[in-house]
Every structure is written in C-alpha cells, then in structure tokens.
C-alpha cells in the first residue's frame, strides 16, 4: 500500500498511464456513442429521446463515483497520512463536479420531452443538485487549505461527511415514489433492452477511463505545482540568507 504512496513511483506510472487512459477513453466513448446513434431504435414510449441515456447515465455514475473516490481518498489521507491520497481527492473533485453538472443538464433536457417538465423537486433530482453544491464546497475548502498552507484535514472530513448523500441519491428511487424512475441497472440485472444496453455500457466504460485519465493528469499537475512552490521557497530562503550575510 505504501509503495503506491511514493510520489516518484506514482509519477513514473502516471506518465504513461495518463495518455493511455485518455486515448482509450476517448476511443471507447466515441465508439459507444457512434454505435448508439447508428443502432438505437426509437423507444416505444419516449421515441428518439432515448438517445439521451448515453450522455445522462454515465455522467450520473461518475458524479457519484467521484464523490466516493473523494471519501475513500480522504479516509486514507486521515488515517495513513499518505501524501498522494489528499492530492487524489482534490484531483477528483473538478471532474466529479463537471460530470454531475452534465448529468443534471442532460437530465433536464430529457425531462422536458418525456415527463413534460424541465425540473421537479423530487428527492432524486434534489439530492443530485446537492451533490453538485457539495463538490463546490469541497473545492472551496481544499483550495483554501492549499492557498493558506492549511493541512487539508477539514476538506478531508468534509469529503467523508458528504458521502452521506450518496446512499440518499441511490436509494431515493428504490424506497420512495418519485418522479424519477427506479434504477434500470443493478448487479447482474438490467431492465434495458440489449439494443440500448451495450452502447450504454460502452459509454460508461469510456467515460470512466476519461475520468481516470483526467484525475491522473490533475494529480501530476498538483504535484508539479507543489515541487515548483517548494523550489521557489528554497530559493527565497537562500536569497534571504545571502542578503543577511552581506
């Protein structure tokens, strides 16, 4: 476990893994979306609006998976004080927020033609909107710690506390009667005809690879930023020392 927390080893792996994930992700996503656009028959009730599933379900999954990644990385950061865990959590926040926003936007565009409403305040939609605001809060806390030289522990605790929202998002549609339908996909079970299912699963894999690549990219950027700052600080100290000696 500690082996992976070594920034030098991480950078060696991330250097080739980042472009690999991004390229595979873009290829798989493009293939899945093209397959969907070419092969989707109109759904029997919602007709062509069914295409939107390709850009709604994968971002929804990554918005939630992104926060679980933040929660787990925060746990590792708090318990083992791994330097990379906090960096991973911070790196996952922005793509997680972006995917949550995409999910909300495409969901709204889907709701208008299918339900007859852009938005309703049921618990599924409301808790997903809350997730977006939690991401904003987390980014503000982590950013403040970074700027002011704090420990980032407050952000890590916030990341763990915010995980309370994830089961609410997931189980709201199972336990409550909501405008949003129940999950179509669960472990080994699908209520989606195979003609829609395979392109959807492909898009979920593709979007997830892109997510992973972006997280690695951002982790490398944060590490590079820290190194540059440390170097500047050393230079400044050396300059002060030289000034005092003259």
């Amino acid at each position: 476990m500690h082996g992976f927390a070594n920034p030098a080893r991480f950078l060696r792996i991330a250097r080739w893994l980042t472009p690999l994930l991004l390229l595979c992700g873009i290829a798989v996503t493009a293939g899945a979306l093209a397959l969907g656009l070419l092969t989707f028959p109109p759904e029997w009730i919602q007709k062509d609006a069914v295409y939107i599933i390709l850009v709604h379900v994968p971002p929804a999954w990554l918005g939630m998976a992104g926060w679980m990644a933040i929660a787990v990385a925060s746990l590792v950061e708090l318990v083992w004080r791994h330097p990379l865990a906090g960096i991973a959590a911070r790196a996952a926040a922005l793509p997680g927020a972006v995917f949550t926003a995409i999910c909300l936007i495409t969901g709204s565009l889907w709701g208008r033609p299918t339900w007859g409403a852009w938005w309703v305040w049921d618990l599924r939609l409301t808790s997903m909107l809350l997730l977006l605001f939690l991401y904003f809060g987390y980014m503000a806390l982590a950013g403040a710690a970074q700027r002011d030289g704090g420990s980032g522990r407050v952000a890590a605790i916030f990341g763990m506390l915010g995980a309370i929202n994830i089961p609410i998002i997931h189980y709201s549609v199972i336990w409550l009667n909501l405008q949003h339908q129940r999950p179509s996909l669960s472990m080994g079970n699908s209520a989606i005809d195979t003609v829609y299912l395979w392109p959807l699963l492909g898009a979920m894999v593709g979007f997830s690879l892109i997510f992973g690549g972006v997280v690695l990219l951002r982790m490398r950027a944060i590490l590079a930023d820290q190194q540059a700052n440390a170097r500047l600080r050393r230079k400044a100290m050396a300059g002060v020392g030289a000034g005092a000696a003259s």
Partner: protein
C-alpha cells in the same frame, strides 16, 4: 495492555465515522419514505383520502382504454391504477405528449367529494424498462417473451 498504534486508532475512528454517516443517510431516507415521496399511489389515496382542499400528487399507471375526451374537447377523463386500487381523474388542459394508456403518470391536484381526482397539471412518468418500438408490432405473446427476457427475474 499494549498501546494501540495511533494509525490503527485513526483507522477505527474513521471507519466508524464513515459507517455511521452512510447508515445515517440510509436511515434518513428510509425514515422519510412517507413524507419524502413525490406522489401517493391510488391504494394510498383510497385507503387514506387526503383533505379535500389539500393539493396532492397522485401517481400510477393510466389504465388501458380509460382515456376519454369530454364534449368540450379540452377536458379528459382517465383512470389511474396501481394494481390494487383505481382512482378516476379529470384534467382540463394540454397533456404531455408521452401521456398514453399503459404508461405512468403523476397528476397534481385535489380530490373532489365524489372521489374523482381533479388534476391541474399532468407529468408523464417513464418506468425503468427500455423497450424498442419494434416490440409494438409483435403479437402479445412474442412481446411478453422479449420483455420478460429483458426485464429478467425481478
């Protein structure tokens, strides 16, 4: 007694905290399931009718063959059912395009004295099943076979 390593102490504390907040989230949703539901199903409305002047939402399936247009051309009547109970609904206005028989609907409005639900807004509701239109052209038997294959054991 041997001292617990601070690392392990932090781990136990953090895991307890994580388990507690996930359980709290699940419990909160579970406890709120009556208040937090977006609509009542017909059997709830029938068993426990809301006050006549209270705005509520009624959700369920539009019964097959139940949609009727009244003589004025803008008022429609239909029946919402959930398998055990059925509630007649009257709605004046433009229904969403996906409002069809055999599909889900959420009606906002009030219950009238005679047990009819007077809706002032309708939302269509999609269920979790995604079925291609080709199935519509099959015989009932073929359709059932394909759908049960897709939906699987629920």
């Amino acid at each position: 007694m041997a001292a617990i390593k601070p690392k392990h102490q932090r781990l136990v504390l953090a895991l307890i905290a994580l388990a507690a907040i996930l359980a709290a989230g699940a419990l909160a949703t579970w406890a709120l399931r009556n208040q937090a539901s977006y609509f009542y199903v017909p059997s709830e409305i029938v068993a426990n009718p809301p006050d006549l002047d209270r705005a509520v939402r009624l959700g369920g399936m539009v019964e097959m063959g139940s949609i009727e247009m009244e003589a004025d051309g803008v008022t429609i009547r239909f029946v919402v059912g959930d398998g055990t109970a059925r509630v007649p609904v009257r709605f004046k206005g433009l229904a969403p395009s996906l409002f069809v028989e055999g599909s889900g609907v959420v009606a906002e409005g009030k219950l009238a004295k005679d047990g009819t639900f007077i809706a002032d807004n309708l939302l269509a509701r999609h269920d979790e099943n995604y079925v291609p239109r080709e199935l519509q052209d099959m015989t009932e038997h073929q359709k059932d076979a394909v759908i049960s294959e897709t939906v699987g054991a629920k």
